[in-house]
Amino acid sequence: MTSLRSPTRRSLLAGTAALGGASLLPRVAFAKGSLIATTYPGTWEDAYRTVVMPALKKKDDIDLELAPLFAMDQVGKAKAARGAPPFDVFVLDPGPRIVALEGGLFEKFDGKKLTNLGKIPPSLVDDAGVCVGAQVVGIAYNPKKVPAPKGWKDLLVEPWVSRLGLTGFQTTFGTSSLIELSKQFGGSLTNVEPALAELKKVLPKVAAVGLPAAMPGLFQQGQCDVMYTNTQTVATLRGKGIDIAFVKPESGAIAFFTTMHIAKGTAELANAYKYLDLVVSKEIQEALTKPPYNFLPINKDAVLPPDLPMKSLDEMTGYVQHDWAKINPLRASWIEKFNKEMAK
């Protein structure tokens, strides 16, 4: 035993010393420039790794490092880091964007530093950041299993209700959809009680209540055949050969924009602007609309892909949009309420 023990102890000490020593070294930049940007896990990560990363290296010789994190996780990490941002650029949906804005997590954004500024609708740039993509939310269904629903109310009656997959208020699309459902029963932007009351009545029939990230998998496996989701998820699932179609509800589809922001205190300010300028360029925006990525572009020159509920960017401005400054303060109580009402 002794002969075994002492080398182990020594190598352990050496290993610990090596590890400790490595962490003391300063951060070394290996290329002309580097940048850490967040991206959403899944399609966003694939697309940015395949399309944007090599393009940035080619154009500006910047090594892009992608940190795949959901919007709320990014805000959580940036808040926890307290002034030393773990990444240089955020990508966020409207709700988390406001939380981060209130937390003072962004550098002031100067749109004039983008060479592509003229190609983006003016409403999509402000002094907090720039929109990089759009999302349209409506109802997805399996046309081989159920007929097309017309609107939100249909979700709660047969034949759809027993095939319905539900998610709560954790995501932007889930919250927006439940608000729209609530409006059909007398609710409003700030009152989702009617939706919860109606859902509770049909709950035993509902096919699945899951985490947002689990829904595409549940749909794919036939656990549910109707769900609320965005056009991108529909296009991605269709690309995998799954029977799925998108319906714009009678009361209107929901539109919202995904934005990028520069983290306060970043050491890579100039590189961050170069990255954002590239992301909103026609080439990148158009490349991202193609399968298997299926993004909705925000550059006016980018051609919209077929199979979308709208023909132009302008048409989307007529879609239902929600004021997240009003939603955010209520969301915690909605999540709690959803837990209690839906719990078995």
């Binding site: 610990t16 709560g168 209540v209 899951g210 985490l211 998998g217 496996q221 969301r331 999540i335 837990n339």
Partner: protein, 282 residues
């Protein structure tokens, strides 16, 4: 007298001890500190977060459900794992290696892959339902996914290595002569099992139960993906409060509740384990 320069044992444990204080104890204290704030921005100290959390009857249901899930998983892993460990002991060495590989295999797969595989198995159009439908046993698909039954089935498979590895390591050190002696003295196989093997394997069994309990009560991905969000356990509540709502004091209260409730069950199990060791050797 010992030479002055020689390391005593406690000094050797010092790096680990310091790492433990810095990486575990300090964050835990921070968690306790955060829980005593009333607001999300951590400006007003107080006990409102604790009062709100424990003033809500729903909290007790969630804690009870979480602990009960752990108990159910422990029971099923023991019921299936213990006989499997007995089979393992009687196998020739070559087959023991094969069985050991099969037992360890779930640990080699990512938790996401394991969890998704269970969706494929338990789903409405999954393997189990298709088999039962084609055999004519059922006419409508059974609901297995998003039920506690489905969750316990999948956790049993996922946590099985944690039960079997300590169990096998303790049981394979048992003196085979004890079994023969018991048989020679006229005990039946069952009597030998319950009066000789089970008591002697108790330390391994208790260790396995501890690991399975701690792991299944905190298995966030399996709980939410296989169980769905209608089955609410403490990890889901912590995730929602910390990363969706950003109410860190509430998240800290829920986290500490999970730590304390799981630790108290573990303390009880370890006490049982120590007692049984005393019984065996005493």
């Amino acid at each position: 007298m010992r030479p002055l320069l020689k390391f005593s044992e406690w000094q050797l444990a010092l790096p680990l001890g310091l790492a433990f204080v810095a990486l575990f104890l300090a964050p835990l204290m921070l968690l306790v500190g955060v829980s005593f704030f009333d607001d999300e921005k951590l400006t007003q100290p107080g006990v409102a977060s604790w009062a709100k959390y424990y003033g809500d009857p729903f909290t007790y249901k969630v804690i009870a459900d979480t602990l009960l899930l752990g108990v159910k998983t422990v029971c099923t892993t023991v019921l299936i794992g213990y006989p499997l460990a007995l089979v393992y002991l009687d196998l020739p060495a070559r087959w023991q290696r094969v069985l050991l590989f099969i037992i360890v295999m779930p640990l080699l797969l990512s938790v996401v892959v394991r969890t998704f595989a269970w969706i494929v198995v338990l789903g409405r159009e999954g393997l189990v339902n298709q088999l039962l439908l084609s055999l004519g046993v059922i006419s409508e698909p059974l609901r297995l996914l998003q039920t506690e039954l489905g969750l316990v089935i999948s956790l049993t498979q996922i946590e099985m290595p944690l039960m079997l590895l300590p169990l096998i390591s303790v049981m394979s050190r048992l003196d085979p002569n004890l079994r023969d002696a018991s048989a020679a003295l006229g005990a039946s196989r069952w009597r030998t099992l319950f009066t000789v093997i089970v008591p002697l394997s108790m330390p391994g069994l208790v260790a396995g139960c501890l690991l399975v309990f701690a792991s299944s009560t905190t298995a966030f991905i399996s709980q939410t993906v296989i169980g769905g969000v209608r089955l609410i356990y403490l990890p889901l509540v912590i995730w929602q409060q910390a990363l969706i709502v950003f109410h860190w004091p509430q998240a800290a209260v829920a986290s500490l509740s999970l730590v304390v409730s799981v630790l108290s069950v573990i303390a009880a199990l370890s006490w049982l384990g120590r007692r049984s060791t005393g019984y065996v050797h005493g």
